[in-house]
Assembly symmetry: C2
């Protein structure tokens, strides 16, 4: 691919003005690395268009010159999905200036947001109108709608409302040749062939640039209840989930599994953290229910579960402060892990019904194959999605991650594939998981990914080096 | 494309045996025309494989020989989507023998069905286990899962549960080169790039052949209530829908709009039909609610609506027989229209919020542009999907449809496009709407459809002549 010529850069600077064009090293620096500092790239300029028309013009110019574009929202990718390559021939296209909520209709339960709208801002705007956008995640103060759409983001409320995919009613995007795909109209039924909206969702900017989305809102919640449950094993946790969903249908919004080892880490490393229950339990679940009489209904259902032995102990948060404290335990696990030492992390999914057996068997297998390691698996049991982390042996050197990490990852991913699962449940592929996708991806899937990428982006200018393992590219060794 | 050679036919006959291969004109006849008798094709043979492996082998052989394949389920397409072309070089691949429900788990709320499972059979199997597959339509005794998936079928319960797209948890398909895409595992979260499941759903067999699907079940319904409401106009009907959804969230499963002219037709032409309400109303709505205390809650909500003037009259069916009678009115509209005379039909959608204004304005415009015509628009208001039918002038000759039909259709479709809508809400494109899709489709959409089709089916053997208006093909004049 081509480096941007001085003439192209001048033309882009002219198009975008001083607010929309920067080649200043200091201004660009934060956007040349991912937030975890794993990937470092270079770029000739940072482009910040303020309208879909400007995005289209940028893409037309770059397509003509064969210059690659790396679209970027809040730059919160977990897999290096928004970091340019080190060769420096790409331009970063930031959507952050396109941050208008074009429309928000509580009556129609719809919001039309530009790609740069920050998730937390949408939450606030919806709330002000008695509505809710029911997707949230840790990075909500930085993550943008365009990035959330392009990575089909998940989070902690997927159980009830699904991932981003289920909340997008319409899309506007700029295709790799600069034409605008206007699919913003929120059509509930539309059978005009291949679903282009779903193709662009989760495509990580490799097929075009999402510039706006029509998003589905839901009514604000009447009441919330958060509970902490101690129980014996993941099998019983799943049975509890089924029982709760049968008893209070449509009310369970979160069902997060926490092993004793993860709770112990939080208690050891996070100041102020306290064990929610008096006794010791091998496994815990954080449950959140919402809706009319959520607290009373959740309490009754949990009481029954205790009576029938599918839970050993349980408490319902008596105040918002207590609910927050329970959530803080769950949300602090990653931080506690980091403080505890080195670990290899995996964001994987298998069918929900198979998750308990998968967790148990794979933990035994990993700890057997890599002596001294310890598996800490936690997360969204109801989505079949756990963060399956493997802690280095206590005596491991800092180089363990570099020396052993890849082998551990291959071992875990092989188990996932054998279980019919996905090596990326919610974080995407980006640049981090591309070689693994190529290694374990079945030929039919790889053929389709490559064929679609080549057909829609024949010049390969849209976020190159991400997601699709192209057969002809040089592979990282 | 090539005609199947005697050698290929012999090889297929050998592969499939006498149950799976027929070149008998009498046996093939019912499958060479669509059920409305609008399209007539020819085929060299009817192939009826009994397994995914056999489907894969058929496709491999045909791909090698360049022989086209027309996949077929229940043959209930409204747009000629399963009828081969008249040139006779295609083979019909019927999925009807692949009719096993491979698994049905009430605990996991999942059923794995082969493509040939008939919808009504799945309904029964789910019901026997205290579950429900919440998609239904008139052709349920013939329509198959493979066809329903491949056309992203809708029906009368889309309001709450969505179209087929929302009910497919996993897919198995044979791609155009004969490889098997195994995506059956019901993963709730899977971010391994382009969503191939959603690409195959609604692709009308042009990108591969769906051989099985993992389908989402829901709990059986505790209680149902059906109401008939008389009201002033579609605007008020939509306001009523919003009010009901606010009052009894998650309970409204159907909300079907019926104009006085449609009710009059049913009363005139369908033996035994009776007007549900005593007075005359310009518009009617059939509402179905489901769930705990559905009848009491719907009655209370409708009472409020009557008090606030957003409904003029309403009744709730007092028995199953009365509920059936109300549904029979709705379901008889098409038959009554046929008995009444000639009409051009359109299955269109616009954003829900815009539907009332669209219906009113477009009816006036059509009746003005084509004097003597009468618009009868009815259907799924809550989905933004009405069947917008235009009755010929009373004195029109039988040739009116041939002479004027296309002009009326273009007029209606232009209005749909201007409203940001879809010229095919639920019936798909097939061979009937392909030239219209080409005429009104925006360049970005047409480019993507063509590029994807060419990339995944480079030989063009999968259901040729359907859905994708390929630029290089001869177009019907």
């Amino acid at each position: 691919m081509a480096n941007p010529s001085p003439a192209l850069l001048a033309r882009l600077a002219d198009l975008l003005g001083s607010k929309g064009f920067s080649a200043d090293a200091g201004e660009m620096a934060p956007w040349l690395t991912d937030w975890r500092g794993r990937f470092q790239g270079r770029a000739a300029a940072l482009l910040s268009p303020s309208s879909t028309g400007e995005v289209a013009e940028i893409v037309r110019l770059c397509a003509g010159a064969g210059v690659p574009i790396v679209p970027q929202g809040g730059n919160t990718s977990m897999v290096g999905g928004a970091t340019p390559s080190p060769d420096g021939d790409a331009l970063i296209l930031s959507l952050r200036r396109m941050n208008r909520i074009r429309d928000l209709s509580p009556e129609d339960n719809l919001a039309i947001c530009e790609a740069g709208v920050i998730l937390a801002h949408l939450h606030e705007a919806a709330e002000a109108q008695g509505r809710r956008f029911p997707l949230s995640l840790g990075a909500k103060d930085n993550a943008t709608i365009g990035g959330l759409v392009s990575t089909n983001a998940g989070g902690t409320q997927v159980l009830r409302f699904g991932t981003m995919r289920g909340l997008v009613a319409g899309l506007e995007a700029v295709l790799p040749d600069g034409t605008i795909f206007d699919g913003l109209a929120p059509l509930k039924k539309d059978n005009r062939g291949y679903d282009l909206r779903h193709l662009l969702i989760g495509a990580e900017g490799t097929l075009g640039i999402v510039t706006a989305a029509s998003l589905i809102l839901v009514p604000a919640v009447a009441e919330r209840a958060v509970a902490w449950v101690g129980l014996r094993d993941p099998e019983i946790a799943l049975a509890l989930l089924h029982r709760l969903e049968e008893r209070i249908p449509g009310a369970i919004e979160s069902f997060e599994l926490v092993p004793a080892v993860a709770l112990d880490l939080v208690l050891a490393h996070i100041p102020g953290a306290r064990a929610p229950l008096a006794g010791r339990h091998d496994w815990h679940v954080l449950v959140e229910a919402a809706g009319v009489e959520a607290e009373a209904r959740l309490a009754a259902a949990l009481n029954d579960a205790l009576g029938q032995g599918s839970a050993d102990d349980a408490l319902i948060a008596a105040s918002q402060g207590q609910a927050d404290a329970l959530w803080r335990i769950r949300d602090s696990i990653s931080e506690a892990e980091r403080k505890d030492g080195i670990a290899v992390k995996h964001d994987v999914s298998v069918p929900v019904a198979d998750m308990p057996a998968f967790m148990t068997a794979t933990a035994v297998a990993v700890e057997g194959a890599f002596p001294g390691t310890r598996v800490i698996a936690f997360g969204h049991l109801g989505d079949g999605n756990v963060h399956f982390n493997v802690r280095a042996p206590r005596d491991a050197a800092a180089s363990w991650l570099d020396n052993e990490g890849a082998a551990v990852t291959r071992f875990v991913h092989d188990a996932v594939v054998a279980a019919g699962g996905s090596i990326s449940a919610e974080h995407g592929i980006g640049q981090m998981k591309r070689s693994e996708l190529e290694r374990v991806g079945d030929p039919a899937r790889l053929f389709m990914l490559r064929a679609i990428k080549s057909a829609l982006d024949p010049r390969g200018i849209m976020n190159p080096g991400k997601l699709v393992p192209l057969a002809h590219e040089p592979r990282p060794s």
